[in-house]
């Protein structure tokens, strides 16, 4: 008899915890990311951002040069994954959350444990317009053909964008 109640209780726990988590996240986030990347099933998924118009096999998004960018990366996979890019060897980035620094000669970034979310904020110089920066996970996306990689296209800011308004 009691065993029949166990699934119900587990479901109730999941629902209760899930609703608390969602509420806490909505309360906690005091910034609005321009781009949200979710790592799930060993792949990057862009949840928010401007989809790049360029053909690409991997998730690709565009960022406007001359703007301050806020990017959020969530690891919803069961393994730690990295988010590294040569872009972060060229620009300083602020980060917040819990992660591990990844520091190489050509690309920098963060390793994020399962369940963690990190924020990154950086300024994209105006002269980066037209450049393409790859990003990947060193563990699972470095080899050709691996899926854990993506591309960032830097484009000129559109009229009415933050960079245009600032200038």
């Amino acid at each position: 008899m009691h065993s029949s109640l166990v699934p119900l209780m587990v479901l109730a726990m999941v629902l209760t915890d899930g609703s608390c988590g969602a509420f806490a996240q909505a309360e906690e986030r005091e910034y609005e990311p321009d781009v949200i990347l979710v790592i799930k099933e060993k792949a990057f998924h862009m949840v928010k951002g401007n989809v790049s118009g360029q053909p690409s096999e991997h998730p690709a998004f565009s960022l406007s040069s001359g703007e301050e960018i806020t990017l959020e990366v969530r690891n919803e996979d069961t393994l730690p994954h990295e988010f590294v890019s040569p872009l972060f060897a060229k620009v300083e980035f602020q980060f917040w959350g819990r992660a591990t620094m990844v520091y190489t000669y050509t690309a920098n970034g963060l390793r994020i444990d399962p369940g963690e979310t990190v924020g990154l904020r950086f300024d994209l110089p105006k002269d980066f317009s037209g450049e393409l920066f790859k990003f990947w996970c060193n563990v699972h996306g470095k080899l050709h053909g691996d899926v854990l990689q993506g591309e960032i296209f830097v484009v000129k800011p559109k009229h009415g964008s933050r960079a245009q308004e600032a200038s």
Partner: protein
């Protein structure tokens, strides 16, 4: 099933749910806790998880020398044991941004919790902290192949090379 059995099972379920609900309210997950180390303007999305208790603290205050706190410290000197984990908290109590840069941070994996700007140089790496921010670093002191290895930590001001002697800390990593 007797009606008393049904009633008992309902009561058992209700009791279990009350315990679960109480546990959730009393012990929220780490991520929903206060914004440790988050600066005023940005709040902390997930800079909110509780950091591990620091073994050593490096605190910079207005116009003063960096202060080392912890049992492994001696003045401007910090001693680490190669292969042993250490939790190091960096705290900026100055009015402007301060940097903590060291070759040590390139020799081992650095896990962090908090908010900072990453500084990556050829032979050194570090962090720039805004006023009021704290960054907790967790790492294993690296082996160098020498009995004692000395590294410097520059606690400079934003944009200025931290070469003033009073802004330097010395980290000695011993192999046992």
């Amino acid at each position: 099933m007797k009606p008393t059995d049904t009633l008992r099972s309902i009561l058992t379920f209700a009791g279990a749910m009350a315990v679960i609900a109480g546990a959730i309210v009393l012990a929220p997950p780490d991520r929903t806790l206060a914004h440790d180390g988050a600066s005023d303007n940005h709040g902390g999305a997930h800079a909110s998880a509780k950091p591990a208790a620091a073994d050593v603290e490096i605190v910079v205050q207005e116009g003063g020398h960096p202060i080392l706190r912890g049992p492994q410290t001696h003045g401007q000197f910090l001693t680490l044991i190669a292969g042993e984990p250490i939790v190091l908290a960096l705290r900026n109590e100055d009015h402007g941004p301060r940097e903590f840069i060291s070759p040590l941070f390139t020799k081992t994996e650095i896990h962090f919790l908090g908010r900072a700007t990453g500084i990556f140089r050829k032979d050194a790496a570090g962090f720039r902290l805004n006023p009021g921010d704290t960054l907790t670093l967790q790492f294993t002191a690296p082996f160098s192949g020498f009995r004692r290895m000395y590294d410097l930590v520059w606690c400079g001001h934003d944009g200025k090379p931290g070469t003033e002697i009073q802004e330097l800390l010395i980290v000695m990593t011993e192999e046992k």
